[in-house]
């Protein structure tokens, strides 16, 4: 009587009838692909890219203010008053909408913070102005460009990625603005520029984070940025339009196209994830 071969089992002790390099039909049965993939619509992709464009616009606003101050096209007093008014209105709106209780207490605390910043900023502006005075202008511009790129790369766009570093992003932007401050004519000019830097890179992102994904805000910011650049340089305006189109249209298109090639592999070999680490 012929003995039938025992059925192969996925263990290390029962398959003596089979060669060691035998591959069963159940091979890779537990393989899973693209388990945690979330479908991204074209609109979501464009809005996501829009956040990068939005932050680019903020950088453009800051640089435009610097160019205007540097060329003497606008008085620093005008910039300071106007930016302070805009910041005050924005802050009041932000607090009114978000602070439910202890409204006055919070406002007093905020006012104290602003006073400390203004006093210390004004007192230290001569030091900040001369801080990078000895460095040549082209080096300053190169450094500022590099710092603003770092700011844009590490900025928190609301994605929990390892590359995100709010502190590095903010420090890079402030360092870039300190570099530019040394090119201005007086300590007061430097103070105004640094105040503007704080408004652009510290306060404005907080406000914009509440209106994330708003088409109106994005469109308005791009329009203002393009107009502001047009008053300074047509070449820069054209370059900005190209970069904006690349980031807001082409990148999401590529992203959606490459999503089809995504091939994440999962299986029993993956390291288990410890979720409940609180004791």
């Amino acid at each position: 009587m012929i003995q039938r071969q025992r059925m192969w089992k996925k263990n290390l002790y029962e398959n003596i009838d089979y060669p060691d390099n035998y591959t069963d039909k159940t091979f890779l049965d537990e393989l899973k692909k693209n388990v945690h993939i979330t479908e991204i619509s074209p609109l979501t992709a464009v809005f996501g890219a829009g956040l990068v464009t939005q932050e680019m616009c903020v950088v453009v606003f800051f640089v435009i203010v610097y160019v205007y101050l540097y060329n003497g096209w606008i008085e620093p007093e005008t910039v300071f008053v106007q930016s302070s008014l805009v910041a005050a209105v924005a802050h009041l709106t932000y607090r009114t909408l978000l602070t439910k209780n202890n409204y006055y207490e919070v406002m007093v605390k905020d006012l104290r913070t602003v006073l400390i910043f203004v006093v210390f900023g004004y007192v230290l502006s001569p030091i900040l102005k001369t801080l990078t005075d000895t460095i040549s202008t082209d080096t300053i511009y190169a450094m500022t460009t590099f710092m603003m790129i770092i700011h844009l790369i590490f900025f928190d766009y609301g994605v929990p990625a390892a590359i995100v570093s709010s502190s590095l992003s903010l420090n890079a932007a402030i360092f870039g603005s300190v570099c530019l401050a040394s090119r201005l004519s007086s300590p007061f000019h430097a103070f105004v520029l640094l105040s503007n830097a704080v408004e652009c890179f510290v306060l404005l992102p907080i406000l914009l984070s509440k209106g994330r994904g708003s088409v109106t805000v994005l469109a308005a910011m791009i329009t203002v940025a393009i107009y502001a650049l047009w008053t300074v340089s047509l070449i820069m305006m054209f370059l900005f339009v190209c970069v904006t189109l690349f980031v807001t249209v082409l990148c999401p298109f590529w992203f959606l196209r490459w999503q089809n090639y995504k091939d994440n592999i999962y299986g029993p070999w993956d390291e288990a994830v410890v979720h409940d680490t609180q004791m």
Partner: protein, 454 residues
């Protein structure tokens, strides 16, 4: 001594007894440089190559080439067997060996994911290295699936041969167990991937429920502080004993003191620890990860999900069965493990792989380069070509006929086989044996009976 080193040492001994000449190549360990002889004439070369990170040598591909070539010729090696995906020396030696017309076998002892950056790089390097390897061995079926996907090796070129346990060294001794308390033994390196975070939470939650429970933890590592913190915070100083680092020879004496063995690994290709624990007659509670579900029969292990509630349930089931006596007796447990896993069987199966690769034709340089081209990393072809040119130069500079052939180490005129054939122990002469070389990350200082050759 780690699992890979244990595997190499035991398998080498069995292969020597089966008539093979085995030499081991590894890098230097501090002052430990040169040639050493270990049990039964196992020759170990500690190459004068410095480690640069995590017990790995810098993968230069060409710096060690003259030395490796010299040893391969001098020892008349015919098969190179590399171990561990992390061993740069193993991969270097396999590539050099292939260029010299030798056969190569590779054993993968680890599992790797596909998502993180380090895995992507390691997988690509493995794919490059194994593109022209004759055969691969994995220690579990899950390991085989992983290697086939990672290294793009054809599944027919991958065999599954598990690790084994020296059952003579891991015997049960129920008399050493405490009668008034239940001892749960944990023996592992205290690192994240061994699930120390889970272990700490399990200890914190189960100890208040069972006052008669004691934990005996052997091993050391960067996560030890977590267990110490739990012990302090929960006031378990008298119930949780941290033994620190253990020699492999001490493991059995710790295991025999326990009733239950707990393994909380987050990933594992085979897990030697659970087999050793089962051989000592302990009930095993383990996470169901990697190749662990393949290792022991269901009545010898309680498999749990890698989370705290599931581990607690597994331990409570084991405790309930222990109380009711519904467990496999320690001696029966040992007998079954001994029948499932033994090094002679592993050696016999590994020998079948050697026979298979020995029968394969040697490739020309062109076909080797075509194999490496399949990995998609074209600059690697330049390294292979450079290595080939260096070998040709060395063939002219130091011809093979000018290299002294090493004399085989004779302990006696013959070696008695460790295994029984047809019910009787038979002998095999030490001459004209097949030559085999192992390339491996390490052999530890704790190995016995070594002599230094000056």
């Amino acid at each position: 001594m780690g699992g890979v080193e244990e595997h190499i040492f035991n398998l080498s001994q069995c292969l020597i007894s089966r008539g093979y000449k085995v030499i081991v190549l590894t890098h230097s360990y501090g002052e430990r440089v040169g040639v050493r002889y270990m049990t039964n004439g196992l020759k170990v070369f500690y190459l004068p190559v410095k480690v640069f990170y995590n017990q790995c040598v810098l993968p230069t591909m060409v710096c060690s080439l003259p030395l490796i070539r010299y040893i391969l010729i001098r020892e008349r090696i015919t098969i190179i067997h590399g171990h561990s995906a992390f061993s740069a020396l193993a991969h270097e030696a396999m590539v050099i060996g292939k260029l010299m017309g030798l056969k190569t076998v590779f054993t993968d002892h680890s599992l790797f994911g596909f998502a993180d950056a380090s895995a992507i790089v390691t997988n690509k390097l493995l794919q490059m290295s194994l593109a022209d390897c004759n055969h691969c061995i994995c220690v579990s079926h899950t390991g085989k699936e992983n290697t086939v996907l990672r290294a793009r090796v054809h599944c027919d070129r991958v065999s599954v041969i598990p690790n084994a346990v020296d059952t003579a060294a891991f015997t049960p001794d129920p008399s050493r167990r405490s009668t008034d308390t239940i001892t749960i033994v944990v023996i592992s390196r205290l690192v994240y991937r061994k699930g120390v975070d889970l272990m700490a939470q399990v200890i914190a939650e189960i100890c208040p429920r069972y006052p008669q429970l004691h934990f005996l933890i052997g091993g050391d590592g960067p996560k030890r502080w977590l267990l110490e913190e739990v012990r302090e915070r929960c006031g378990l100083q008298d119930r949780v004993t941290l033994l620190g680092s253990l020699e492999h020879s001490q493991v059995r004496s710790v295991l025999t003191r326990g009733h239950i063995f707990l393994n909380t690994s987050l990933t594992e290709a085979y897990c030697m620890a659970i087999v050793e624990a089962a051989a000592c007659g302990l009930q095993v509670v383990s996470t169901k990860v990697g190749g662990i579900p393949e290792v022991l029969p269901s009545d010898l292990i309680y498999l749990t999900e890698p989370n705290v509630p599931s581990l607690l349930l597994g331990l409570e089931t084991a405790l309930a069965n222990l109380r009711s006596g519904n467990v496999v007796p320690p001696l029966e447990c040992h007998r079954r493990v001994a029948s499932l896993y033994n090094w002679m069987d592993v050696a016999r199966r590994t020998e079948a792989v050697y026979h298979r690769v020995a029968g394969e034709k040697s490739k020309t340089l062109g076909s080797q380069l075509r194999s490496y081209m399949a990995s998609g990393v074209l600059p690697f072809l330049l390294i292979i070509s450079l290595a080939h040119l260096m070998l040709r130069f060395l063939d002219w500079m130091v011809p093979q006929q000018n290299i002294d052939i090493a004399k085989d180490y004779n302990i006696t005129s013959h070696i008695t086989d460790l295994h029984h054939s047809n019910g009787e122990v038979h002998s095999q002469t030490y001459r004209d044996r097949r030559k085999l070389s192992w390339y491996e990350p390490a052999l530890s200082k704790q190995q016995m009976n070594y002599k230094r050759v000056f």
